[in-house]
Amino acid sequence: MEINASTQNDITVLALQGRLDGLASPQLEQRLDALVAAGTRKVVLDCAALTYVSSAGLRVFLGGAKKLKSAGGRAAFAALTPAVHEVFELSGFLEVLAVHPSAAAAAASLA
C-alpha cells in the first residue's frame, strides 16, 4: 500500500496504490487521523490505482468519512476500479459515501 498526498488549495488528495487489506489499513487510518487533527477538512481518496479492499479497508474509509463529517468536513472517493466498485456496492457504500468518476470530479465536488 502506497499513499501519495498532494494538495489543491484546501483540498488534500490521497492517491492510494496497491492493496488496502487488514495489514495495510492501519497505515491509512493513521494518515487520515493525522490530517483531521492538523485541520484538513476536505479529502479526496483517489482509488484509481487501488487494486484491492477488504472490510478492514472499508472500515477505515467509513471511519474517515465519519470523522471528517463530524469535524465539519467531507471526504470524496474517486475512480474506483471494477473490483473495488463491486465491494462498495455490495456494502451499501455507494449510498453513504460520495463516489466520483475521477479525482478531478471529486475535488470539484469539495470546492
Binding site: 487489506d21 479492499v53 473490483a83
Partner: protein, 143 residues
C-alpha cells in the same frame, strides 16, 4: 483441466494476509482470472482468516491452521480448517447495508461480503475442528 490441490499452512498473524493473497493469485493463475474473480476470492479468504485469528484464537499469535485450495475446471474451492473453539462465522446476523452513514457499523460486513461474493459457503464442526468451505465459479476466460 486436471484438478489441482494446494495446502497452505498459516499462523495466527495478520502478516499472513498478503502472503495468502499471493498464493491464491499464483494458484488461480492457470485460469487467467478476471480481476473481480480474483478479488472476490482473496477478499473472502482474508475475511475468513481474519475471523479465525481474531475470534477463533483471540488475536493471539503462535496458532497454526490451514487453507486448502482446490481447482476443478473454473471452480475454486477453499477449505479453512482450524482447531479453535467452535465458531460459525456464517451464523452472524445479517447487516443492514442500507443504513445511513451515522448509523453504519462495520461489524459483520466481512461475513456479508463473503456470502455475497462466494457461490457457496458452508461451516461445519468436524472432529473438534472448524471447517469453513468457500467456493466460487470463475467467469469464462475472455476470448
Amino acid at each position: 483441466m486436471s484438478p489441482a490441490v494446494q495446502l497452505l499452512p498459516l499462523t495466527s498473524s495478520l502478516d499472513e494476509i498478503p502472503r495468502l493473497a499471493d498464493a491464491v493469485e499464483a494458484f488461480c493463475e492457470p485460469l487467467a482470472p478476471g480481476p473481480r474473480d480474483l478479488h472476490a476470492l482473496q477478499l473472502a479468504l482474508e475475511e475468513a482468516v481474519t475471523n479465525v485469528i481474531h475470534h477463533g484464537y483471540g488475536g493471539r499469535p503462535g496458532h497454526t491452521f490451514t487453507v486448502e485450495l482446490r481447482r476443478e475446471d473454473r471452480r475454486i474451492t477453499a477449505v479453512l480448517t482450524d482447531d479453535a473453539p467452535a465458531y460459525d462465522p456464517l451464523a452472524r446476523p445479517e447487516v443492514d447495508v442500507h443504513a445511513p452513514l451515522a448509523e453504519r457499523d462495520i461489524g459483520g460486513l466481512g461475513v456479508h461480503l463473503v456470502k455475497k461474493l462466494m457461490d457457496s459457503a458452508a461451516y461445519e464442526r468436524r472432529d473438534g475442528r472448524n471447517v469453513l468451505t468457500l467456493a466460487r465459479n470463475f467467469a469464462p476466460t475472455a476470448p
